[in-house]
């Protein structure tokens, strides 16, 4: 399981950083929960997110919106992931906590540290036995987001 989660996290980050965003929802189960929040909201138990989804279809919609509707200056991410801390659960799922740093590369060539944080994950298997995310809560360490959050974390 640990090796599998290592591989999953590497593939997930590579998918986003390579701008293959249409493939991003495939890392989630159809009924998955995905939320981007901050450590302050997380600590206080506040439920809202910068991004909040309770279905894979909502993640598909986010990518469609980014591609077809939303307007923002061209940029890309570079995810650097730390080692996942994995806790297998009795029901066959696994909880994992993985730290990340994301640099943002802007159109003008500038690179800056955009956000650091943790993925708080629940992994489960789909019908074909493939490892997928049942839940991913992205807890950003800072309460401030520079300019906008378009590409998902």
């Amino acid at each position: 399981m640990l090796n599998e989660i290592h591989g999953f996290q590497a593939a997930y980050a590579r998918c986003i950083d390579d701008d293959r965003l249409e493939g991003w929802p495939e890392y989630f189960l159809p009924n998955a929960h995905y939320r981007v929040t901050t450590v302050d909201n997380h600590r206080r138990g506040l439920p809202a997110g910068l991004i909040w989804a309770n279905s894979r279809a909502m993640l598909v919609d986010r990518i469609t919106a980014l591609r077809e509707a939303n307007i923002y200056e061209r940029h890309s991410y570079r995810h650097l992931l730390g080692l996942p801390f994995v806790e297998p659960q009795a029901d066959g799922t696994a909880r994992a906590e993985t730290p990340f740093m994301v640099a943002r590369i802007m159109r003008d060539g500038g690179t800056e540290l955009f956000v650091t944080g943790r993925y708080l994950d629940v992994f489960a298997r789909d019908e074909a036995g493939a490892l997928k995310l049942l839940e991913r809560v992205v807890v950003c360490d800072s309460s401030r987001i520079d300019t906008l959050l378009a590409i998902p974390l």
């Binding site: 981007v36 909201n41 997110g49």
Partner: protein, 408 residues
């Protein structure tokens, strides 16, 4: 070097770009607007619901503590120790009996009144404060506080008119429309750091002209395909506004959803539940953006209710604080809908993320345009209410209030 162009006296439809660029303009604004005769949003009453609760915030560059005393009364005072100027409260909020400055342990009560000075009488008869030192002659500046529908406002100036007069009756009515009779609960707080002067955001909020042109989410997914009616209200002062739109009566609810399904657009939402909101106000108004000069916004976009607070952090840096709201009266289904619709707004919002970058485009685009004027002539030259949103009237209203406040 281009010379800074003169601002044509009284003009509301021309704005010189230097007003977004100069340190001396920001310094003047700190005195004339943020410490001047304006009401500034501080926090929600719900955030300091209990005796001893407090929050810290900023009014321009003025750090402020808002606190509820043991009797339940609200107070606001400058977050600055009267001794050497250090911050008195260091956290975003909490609950306390009093405030003690960490530097030399000067102690203040919940009203910001100095109550104790460490080693006031010296040690072993040596040192200490002079005998004629009076505690009540030393305290941080206190703000007047007023509330409406659970929103807490403060002002340093004695000249600021009563809050409801400052807002004007049409604004008061529409604040009550969203908040009255309910118990707000904070669903989340997020800060968006904008790479632009604060006024480029407060203009943007009042700019009903750009909404359907810059924010293409609703258009792309043909959510707005029904003819929408709407309008714009500009307060007497110019500084406060409401922009609203409504679906036509009879097209609400299920019928409206069916219309979306029959859309001719190539793009559909894979999960259209995002937009299956509930009738919250019984008036078919799906959008109401309300601003109060200078820096407060109350937003209803479908069932997503939020307050926004604008805090300048420098000439070309601004913090936009979002507080997403639900209500204690929400059913679980209603609460779920609010959480889903938070996707529409904020730093990652389907209909608002563009506002995070467009101010920066102006800041960078106009970098060398100190001798030029921006043009605000959509809908004429006045700052009046209208039954169309194809107008820049409320942006002109902002400049009317701004020129009055600053004397520019």
């Amino acid at each position: 070097m281009p010379l800074d162009i003169a601002w044509p006296p009284g003009s509301l439809h021309q704005v010189p770009y230097w007003v977004f660029q100069r340190d001396d303009v920001l310094a003047k604004e700190q005195a004339a607007v943020f410490r001047g005769a304006c009401w500034h949003y501080l926090c929600l009453e719900a955030e300091i619901a209990n005796p001893g609760d407090y929050r810290t915030t900023h009014v321009g560059n003025l750090p402020v503590v808002v606190a509820r005393d043991a009797e339940g009364a609200l107070h606001a005072f400058e977050n600055r120790c009267a001794h050497r100027g250090a911050l008195i409260a260091l956290e975003d909020g909490g609950n306390t009996k009093d405030f003690t400055c960490v530097y030399h342990a000067w102690r203040y009560d919940m009203t910001g009144t100095l109550k104790g000075v460490a080693f006031r009488n010296g040690i072993a008869g040596k040192g200490g404060m002079p005998k004629d030192f009076k505690l009540d002659e030393h305290c941080p500046r206190k703000l007047r506080v007023a509330t409406i529908c659970g929103l807490v406002f403060g002002t340093l100036s004695d000249a600021t008119p009563p809050l409801e007069d400052y807002l004007g009756p049409e604004i008061v009515t529409r604040i009550r429309r969203v908040l009255n009779g309910r118990t707000p609960e904070v669903l989340g707080r997020f800060t968006q750091a904008l790479p632009n002067n604060w006024k480029l955001y407060t203009e943007n909020v009042r700019d009903s002209y750009h909404a359907s042109l810059l924010h293409l989410f609703f258009t792309t997914f043909e959510v707005n395909r029904l003819t929408q009616k709407g309008g714009l209200i500009v307060s007497e002062s110019g500084g406060n506004h409401v922009s609203w739109s409504a679906i036509e009566a009879g097209a609400a609810g299920a019928e409206y959803a069916q219309q979306q399904i029959r859309s001719d657009s190539d793009f559909r939402l894979a999960d259209p539940s995002l937009l299956h909101g509930f009738q919250e106000f019984g008036d078919n108004i799906t959008l109401q953006i309300l601003s109060v000069f200078p820096t407060f916004v109350l937003q209803q976009i479908q069932n997503c209710i939020a307050v926004r607070q604008v805090v300048p952090r420098g000439v070309a840096q601004t913090d936009l604080h979002w507080t997403y709201l639900g209500f204690a009266e929400d059913t679980p289904e209603q609460r779920l809908m609010r959480l889903k619709q938070c996707n529409l707004v904020g730093a990652a919002g389907f209909v608002s993320m563009e506002d995070g970058c467009v101010g920066g485009f102006v800041q960078r685009g106009a970098a060398a345009a100190q001798d030029q004027l921006a043009v605000l002539e959509m809908g004429g030259h006045a700052a009046e209410s209208s039954d169309t949103r194809a107008t820049e009237a409320s942006v002109r209203g902002f400049w009317k209030a701004y020129r009055t406040a600053t004397g520019y």
